[in-house]
């Protein structure tokens, strides 16, 4: 009995506030725009059963998504932005993680904390901080003009470049931590063994260090890619009008156009795109855990 309550409470909560809402999104995405205009009351007429639901299926919203090139352009551009910035985060994050893992033992907790600290501070504030740096009269341009590298301010804010910077900056801890965890576990004598067996420092790095931190790299990349794909705050604060990201499109579809069925359809497709990386990520984590055991 007690066990039943223990399971039922969180179960019912999640069913009601996670699964059911999601089913509603699915249903609305398949319903007609006309009846879905607010105030909208979804009809949960389960008596009519699944047949009625199926017969009312309307793929119009999805057709709309395919016909209007705004949407698939937005998906493609989100995908491209998320992939590029994941790669950039890896390039920036790996040397930091590597440096941390090589640092003297007594520094490591402090370095760890320095990486985690930004994670605890507001995401919004960290994105906002870049607004002042990247603007035309911002510090970056002031600095570049002072060094004489450029003669007039570069337009960085409100471009896709600013979005890359924002994503790399805010998601950097997610990349560093798993790689650091993998590198820290690594036995130093492995590198020595590789060098002893004739590797140069560089080839020892490529042949031993990188393969052993593969799990961390994969985990880090997924942890950056998955949220970057649906990102809304960064493109809307740092990106320009030409920066298309699907999170932003969904937001505008919902709040500005108030077209709920289309917004729902956008959400469903976004989720379908994310299912593959999410499943792959889960696999990777399981493999890592089994490797530890």
């Amino acid at each position: 009995m007690r066990r039943f309550v223990l399971i039922a409470v969180p179960y019912v909560w999640l069913l009601a506030l996670f699964l059911v809402p999601f089913v509603i999104v699915l249903k609305i995405s398949l319903s007609d725009a006309a009846i879905a205009r607010p105030p909208y009351v979804p009809q949960f007429d389960w008596v009519e059963g699944i047949w009625a639901f199926l017969s009312q299926l309307d793929f119009e919203n999805f057709t709309w998504l395919i016909e209007d090139d705004l949407y698939w352009k937005a998906y493609l551009s989100s995908l491209q932005i998320a992939l590029t910035s994941t790669l950039l985060t890896l390039i920036v994050g790996y040397p930091i993680a590597y440096g941390m893992a090589r640092a003297p033992q007594e520094w490591r907790p402090t370095l760890m904390m320095l990486v985690i600290l930004p994670f605890w501070t507001s995401f919004l504030i960290r994105v906002y901080a870049w607004k002042g740096i990247l603007s035309n009269e911002g510090f970056l341009n002031q600095f570049l003009m002072w060094t004489g590298l450029v003669s007039e301010p570069l337009q960085i804010l409100n471009t896709t470049t600013a979005v890359y910077i924002g994503i790399v900056y805010t998601y950097l801890p997610f990349m560093i931590l798993p790689i650091y965890a993998a590198l820290e576990r690594m036995d130093d004598s492995l590198i020595e063994a590789a060098e002893d067996l004739g590797c140069s420092r560089m080839s020892a790095f490529w042949l031993v260090t990188i393969p052993l931190s593969k799990g961390g790299i994969i985990a880090g990349c997924f942890l950056v890619f998955i949220p970057a794909m649906g990102e809304f705050v960064i493109p809307s604060l740092l990106g320009g009008s030409d920066t298309l990201m699907i999170g932003k499109v969904l937001w505008e579809e919902f709040f500005s156009n108030r077209d709920w069925p289309v917004a729902s359809a956008v959400a469903v497709i976004l989720l379908l795109i994310l299912v593959v990386p999410i499943v792959l990520f889960q696999r990777n984590q399981q493999k890592e855990q089994e490797g530890d055991a």
Binding site: P21, L124, I125, A129
Partner: protein
């Protein structure tokens, strides 16, 4: 211990500079006299003064804290229950669905979570406001709590609970007297995580709130969309300050406890 190579020193220095300089600039310019946040014109704390006068901002801060405290507390209870179920309950009907629902919100884009909850609240005719934000925040942060707590429970020595049962505890007593005190640090960090997630959330709150309840992130977002303002810098500085003090003191406390425990263990070994 080996010395750091030049490459490592450079990458660490640049890396941490990248992480911290933006925030330092933000903090610095909250003390700027001028309204322009890019030109330094003298030290002043007037923006903090103005912030304290800003009724709307204070109101939003109060709503945010209220939401965060309530939702993280409920999330901690539910998340701990869920973690216990995941680690201890073995097989039950719909276990796969259950674990899926625990992990999915962690990777679900916020726009989708927000949208789906909003549609639910409209569907059941619930007025949007503090209650709906609390429900939404509880739902996604309980999943984070359950991940933190279940990773602690997974390494928890089962025989401790069995020993308690053996010495006369009922299942509930064993949990209250033995398991809970031992996993308490994980439960507390779960609560803290839920609390900061709730404080920080813009997207889900924007979807699930109504006109009556505006949270701080919503307020900040609408202000910074228009541009940079020193008042927001001041507010950010306060928030960064609170978090920094909190995180550093928490880690110092746990570090001291660890050092003390290590020393005592060594003494115990030497005493034999």
């Amino acid at each position: 211990m080996k010395r750091l190579s030049a490459f490592n020193v450079v990458s660490l220095t640049l890396g941490f500079a990248f992480l911290y300089i933006p925030m330092l600039i933000l903090i610095l310019f909250s003390f700027n006299e001028s309204k322009l946040v890019t030109v330094w014109s003298g030290f002043s704390t007037k923006w903090y003064g103005e912030l304290m006068q800003n009724e709307a901002m204070l109101q939003a801060a109060w709503v945010t804290i209220k939401v965060a405290v309530i939702s993280s507390s409920i999330a901690t209870v539910l998340g701990t229950m869920a973690a216990y179920v995941m680690v201890r309950s073995g097989r039950f009907l719909g276990r796969t669905l259950f674990s899926g629902m625990i992990y999915a919100p962690l990777v679900m884009p916020e726009v989708i979570t927000g949208l789906s909850l909003l549609l639910l609240f409209i569907g059941i005719g619930l007025d949007r406001g503090v209650l709906t934000i609390v429900l939404a925040h509880t739902t996604f942060s309980m999943c984070y709590v359950s991940v933190v707590v279940s990773s602690r429970l997974a390494t928890f020595d089962m025989s401790l609970e069995e020993a308690a049962r053996d010495l006369g505890c009922s299942q509930a007593q064993a949990f209250r007297l033995v398991t809970l005190p031992i996993i308490a640090p994980a439960v507390v960090s779960g609560w803290l995580l839920a609390f900061t997630l709730s404080l920080d959330d813009l997207v889900i709150a924007s979807f699930t709130t109504g006109p009556a309840a505006t949270t701080l992130p919503i307020k900040i977002f609408s202000a910074v969309r228009l541009g940079v303002s020193p008042e927001i810098n001041a507010l950010s500085t306060i928030m960064i300050g609170i978090v920094t003090v909190g995180v550093i003191s928490a880690s110092l406390v746990s570090k001291r406890a660890l050092v003390k425990q290590r020393r005592e263990e060594q003494e115990a070994v030497r005493a034999t």
